[in-house]
Symmetry: C2
Subunit: 204 residues, 2 copies
């Protein structure tokens, strides 16, 4: 019994394995909507507005940002990319959930804009030592970059109280981790506040 | 990754199908402890104190009750039966969860005594009309008894805000319902407050 969808924010420090877990989660999670992002990048040949992206000017994007109409965004190659609040609203109103994989510091912004319609999940490696080992194993970062990522993780883990759930991604247990998040997604629909429409109308 | 167990209270009005769902849940839920109840009934031949029950006098039971050492209790055939707080504490400290199937009005008492170590789940039929149909189908109650149970349900549903989760037990979907509760049980271990020991020691 689902009334309405919810926005699930999944964040985690670099080395938490967020990308792999979210890929696995999308395979096992049904009823998930796909949001069309907004971008200030020019449409390429064959791309359709509202299908590939919602195309807009930099001014339009920044106006929406200032108005709190953009849940999360990033800048890449001089262009903005972001998730429109109205796009998220459309998906959850249709009864589907939306999964947003975003930076840890973006979680509280989504909460401010979506209120009780979102659930914030932080993914962590079991320990900082294990996180560091994963960063080293990638063989892509300099020592300086690794130190920077670990310093950033200190700030990110300190943001845990802004989140609803903390899930550990144990090494070699991607599927178990995705499954834990799936259970959180299912359970979140049954909180008393979200079941209010049912209890309020039980005797109708 | 589970640190510690939790007490899960499952309550619901008569006709919610609580008993059947909890039976199903116990089959699919691993890591659940079994608590030895306290009773004022005399031990029968072969029964062992601390194994079958914790046997005690009426005075001892009432003293523990007054001291807030009994999570929930009932009286049957002139004897008290109840769950000791220290018994629940022992189980959850060992890392196992405890499932208590109790009356709706007992939920807030468990919350008062267990704090954040318990999760309250209320089970409901999809609607009051469906609940009434189930009560009639049992063919065990008089019209007066059914009216009484429905009147009681009004009071019970009004207690929903004291609970954490509301789960609907749709007719013919016992296993789905037990599964929803299983997801709530798993998810509850990952709330930020319960993962605090992990986040606090992440960099140790």
């Amino acid at each position: 019994m689902k009334n309405k969808g919810l926005v699930f924010v999944i964040s985690g420090p670099s080395g938490s394995g967020k990308g792999t877990v979210v890929d696995e989660l999308r395979k096992i999670c049904t009823d998930v909507g796909v949001s069309v992002s907004a971008t200030t990048r020019k449409p390429r040949e064959g791309e359709v507005d509202g299908v590939n992206y919602h195309y807009m000017t930099r001014e339009q994007f920044e106006k929406l940002l200032a108005e709190g109409e953009i849940l999360e965004h990033t800048e890449y190659n001089g262009n903005y990319y972001g998730t429109l609040k109205r796009e998220a609203r459309k998906i959850i109103d249709s009864g589907k959930d939306l999964i947003l994989e975003i930076e840890v510091d973006g979680g509280s912004q989504v909460r401010n804009l979506m209120g009780d319609d979102c659930v914030l999940i932080m993914l962590l490696a079991p320990t900082a030592a294990e996180q560091e080992r994963r960063l080293r194993d990638r063989n892509t970062d300099t020592e300086e970059a690794i130190a920077g990522r670990l310093a950033k993780a200190k700030i990110e883990v300190a943001m845990a109280p802004q989140y609803d759930y903390i899930v550990l991604n144990e090494t070699g247990k991607t599927l178990e981790c995705a499954n834990d998040i799936l259970h959180i997604i299912n359970a979140s629909h049954y909180t008393v506040s979200r079941m209010r429409t049912v209890t309020d109308h039980y005797f109708d």
